[in-house]
Symmetry: C5
Subunit: 332 residues, 5 copies
């Protein structure tokens, strides 16, 4: 699928032209052409390469997916790779779409495998306001990248909320038995590492655009890319902060566990001391009963009139004495 | 609410003028104008933008809140975002107010949503000493930023005190059961991460001002911004130190817990050894009583005259022997 | 073993020439010569050094193995050391082969001890497309290095899969008793540290090639080395990500262990409480039986008609009361 | 208190002049003046500022204490803040004294609140060797800073010894119960963080002096400041090493604790197994005695002639069998 | 002890001359002189300083030991400090010897307190091949430093072997009780921190030599120092890798301990459950025996003909039922 959008010399915006026309119009003076190509075949890419004289290395980069975000400065065009990123709530997953951009003197190619909603968004905006595009390809490129970067912020917000959720879970877990958290902490950590790895080169590429040294981009749009650069910087800053917060959540998890363990050990000690105390008292008293249950012929106490109460009294005295001793040692 | 403060050619300070006048006076020669705008409507911002010819990107930055601190160098003016930060004791929270500043050749705009006391402070100072403002907008800007940065130090002091409190709590906790500390450690850590993230770009922006390359700021005031830069540096240094100290407090927490655990385990061992010893002694003695409580017709000991004392003696011998053995094994 | 590949002025590719010829042909005008030398003797290296006027230090580097990857810029040639790396599944081992490369104005030497399949691959490609080599030694060098670097990616993928495997093992281990994981985590970590150490200087060497300042490499091929540099960058990025993920797996291992420990402690507490409860109930009831088993002549209850049921009832009351108390204290 | 030391044109050193004289002498030709000011009043500082034409910002820095170490380059003078640091053995505390230094073309001001012994030391040295001072203010400044920096080394040595002490304590603690160490580790860590924070800017300031670009300091003395810079570098190096060693001590503490815990757990297991074994044997044997203590009319064994020995034999058999079983399961 | 080695204009190598001669020969034309001074007295150093016009600061550095490795660039000579390092197997100790080197236009001084075998090695090499020294002092300096650096590699290898040993110990320890490892880990860590601190400045000094900007060292030897720099780089790389591996060993130690702990806890649980089960069964059965051992006049079961078998049967039923219950709860 190839969508073509052309702004010709008379400020008319010609949308969704048949692909062939674009090639002829390109030859024509001051026109600016934007071709959006979705899921192209190898032949289509080759055809575009021939039309716009794209260097073989860039063509190879377009064909092979799974690039690093980057900007390559060729003599006649710039080749950019950027990423559109969405957050999928279940499983803390990030869904990303690679977008290859080729910017020449009078053309902009956007090439991607899956549909990217930011492109539709920018196209709609320029369709509404056709004069805008006259300000040059730089502004068009800025709008596109800025829209992509602006879509990172809700993703970041959702990650931020997720981290707060996890933190609450870990703290609640300090009372209960919820162990779900740890797996989530690690899967979110993995996503943050991955996200960081995707955004960092994007920042470097944006810095190149903001340096105002590229001949194909007018001086006046430099300030826009400076603004874009600051946005990407805020994104990487936020990711770093989230990683620190997440590692804080993990530390909290460990410390909650270690605290629970210490508490459990102390409880165990208390329990064991009570067990010791009670069972020793009962055993001692039972021993007395056992002694007077012996069958010796000659056991004077057995004939005593008050032998039985005496034995019960003896039991109480022994139990009481032991209880006092254990109380004093704080075993109860 | 718009407060206007003008210093005209004759060194008169005209305060709180009606807003319309400011526009006409601006045209007028060497006058310097400072407009402080609180919680402006979108229309007011637009009007200011038109009056002072502010670039649309800066206008957008003013309208959207939640910026990163920064300085943007435009051709005719500089756009700064700074943060006023207060410490709210309960909950270790930091309360921050965003301040957008636009500095032109002969005007200074300060735009913010909530009241910022540093602005009132600086205004009062300049009202008292009208001649000061003649030294140029640079000195005015420096006074403003320096007052904001000076307000960070009491915040830092309170954080420092809070960390010392937490450390004491953790060490006290090593004896008692106080678990409140861990949640406070993490909420303070979160605030420090956040604070660091707000101040770091402020430092970078101040470094730009201190570099003495900006045409709108006179050479002579460069040394002031150098001083300001050193102050911000001290702030970020202090934050880093606090983060290290806080992570030290967390380590202390873990080690106190681990120590408690080891102590609890050792105590448990001692308790179990005593339990083992006592109950084995009691069980052995009870066994003897049980044996002589058996009802066999033919049990010679039962007919012995001294059978009963013999049995009691046997019990004492067994108990004593066992006690000696356990004593030797250090189980008591 | 010396394989020679020559591209002479008439674009003929002359393969596997006898070694002597190569020396004479070198003298001859625009020809480009590629000598691939496997497991050379000291004499062969010396002979090559004389033929191509290689600096003694480079000769020493070729002779001594176990170099760091690098590029040395000599006046008439560049000396590179690169590593071909394979992954051996059992034992998470990396198998690496050192490759020394000497690039001169019109010759390329590749010297190695073990066979390196990437060299065969590149040779085959150039044999198929002899015209390619005319684009110069730069493109030949790029092809060689790019093929080597491209072989890192399957190695990285296998490491990535191994880490996911280990993570799954650690999580499964949270239920079972599988302790195999920890040794694997550390051996993989060791390999990653080692790999990082091998690739990082490779990245620096590639950066030198990409800087487009080397006279022996044409300007036009600079963009190729830029591309190569980005590939190596992706490799080091991936290694860093893997190291972070692996340290995450280790953290998960620790936290799973710490969680297991806390759970075990809590279980132990519950067990001890039940033991305490049951044994105290049984001991108390046994004590009653013991008392009525005493042989005192004068024990009124023994003569009661309902003495026996009374005693059984007493046992039930005592057991029930204790059970209620323990229930209330949540010891059951 | 103001001490004045002047070296006039004729190489005479005039010490402790009345303060007024210094002002007149300053006007006079090639003289060099060094004013050491201890605990000055605000008026005295103001007077000095007027005499030596010190910039208001530097005056403010002198008045406010608690600066960061630094060097500020003003047009006519340099303003330095340095710290004299002592080690107070009890409590691992560092005692520091701030020293403000102003260096002009022909004067050196040293301003401090508490007495600083290094100043007296340097003054004595120059009094002894008056010709030295002729080599210029640079040498004087170097002597002063070098003496201060040389005083750091005994402090570092004491910290080093303290760390070794702590390490020994932690290792000894692995046997006994000494928990004093942990608090000392953290207080020392806090001091090292603090020390690092004080010295690092000192290093940066010294680097500025060593760069040999400052007009007020002669080229020839550059090599001295290079030497000074290396000394400060050694100090910061040592602090970093000490911090690593201290964190190693903390790790050792944790591992000793974790080892103790594991040992305690293993001991506990052994104890519980013995308890289990012995009590089960005793309980079983007691059960047999209990059975033959039952009062059934019809219990054939009771009438057996060898009933009693039989029962005792049964007890021995049961006890022996159980002991064998437990022995085999390694519970003894 | 002063060894003198001179290469005079006629390529004769004059060894071990009397010291006085060296001074006169120095005056003489193109000769190169190398003085190796071992354990000099203060007077000897002073004499050398006068002869070779060494700056007082360098003299001070020679006199005071315990320097940081460095290179100081003076106008007429370079002053280097390097370290010769040996590994002493018992105690994981590193033995180091400081070597001060002064390189002038036509002289090389090597000054050290203890004998350094590398110096003898280089001297022997040059004695064998006198023509070598003609290539200049640069080559001589390179030979010396390269020999020193080459001696680091066996030290590194021994450290590497020691780490592998420790790793094996820690893994073996996971089964047994060997606690020797932890102390060794920390002493080795201390040595690595120390080694790192000694080598890092050596790397920086070598980088200065490799930069090819020093007038006293000929352009042509630059490539040699580049090679030397790479060797030192490999050393620091290896140290970093060893430190990571060692911290991995420590992590392994912790995890082995934590695993042991978790296993011990689980075993303890199992033990306690069995104890609970067995003792409850035995106690219950003993209770029945106790009941039928009561002496009530009116206990119908006692008169039953099958009372005794009934009671034994009851015991079996109770024991069996409880055993089934505990089996079902998996307490056995």
């Amino acid at each position: 699928m190839i969508h073509t959008m052309i702004c010709n010399r008379n400020h008319h915006l010609l949308d969704d032209l048949p692909h062939d026309t674009s090639q002829t119009m390109l030859v024509d003076g001051d026109d600016i052409i934007w071709l959006d190509v979705e899921a192209p075949s190898k032949e289509e890419i080759q055809q575009l390469a021939t039309t716009f004289k794209i260097h073989p290395l860039a063509v190879e980069d377009i064909t092979k997916a799974h690039q690093r975000a980057k900007i390559d400065i060729y003599d006649d065009f710039y080749f950019l790779v950027f990423f559109d990123i969405d957050y999928i709530e279940e499983g803390n997953l990030l869904d990303e779409h690679e977008l290859a951009i080729v910017v020449g003197k009078d053309f902009l190619l956007t090439i991607h495998q899956e549909p990217i909603e930011e492109i539709a968004e920018v196209a709609t905006r320029f369709r509404r306001n056709a004069k805008e595009i006259e300000r040059g390809l730089g502004v068009l490129l800025y709008s596109l990248l800025d829209t992509i970067v602006d879509h990172y912020f809700p993703v970041l917000d959702q990650i931020g909320e997720r981290i707060e959720e996890l933190e609450t879970q870990v703290i609640e877990f300090s009372n209960g038995e919820n162990t779900a958290g740890i797996r989530d902490i690690f899967s979110l950590k993995r996503e943050l590492i991955h996200l960081r790895r995707q955004i960092a080169p994007q920042r470097d590429a944006t810095a190149v655009l903001a340096r105002r040294e590229l001949p194909l981009i007018s001086e006046a749009t430099g300030v826009y890319f400076q603004d874009l650069y600051e946005h990407v910087l805020r994104v990487t800053d936020a990711i770093d902060v989230y990683r620190e917060l997440l590692s804080g959540v993990f530390d909290a998890y460990l410390s909650v566990n270690s605290n629970k363990l210490a508490t459990a050990s102390n409880n165990l000690n208390a329990v064991m001391k009570r067990l010791t105390s009670y069972s020793i008292i009962l055993m001692s008293v039972t021993l007395i009963a056992g002694i007077y249950g012996m069958n010796f012929d000659n056991m004077p106490e057995l004939q005593w009139r008050l032998g039985y109460p005496f034995s019960l009294g003896l039991m109480l005295v022994v139990a009481g004495t032991l209880a006092l001793i254990f109380k004093r040692e704080r075993w109860f």
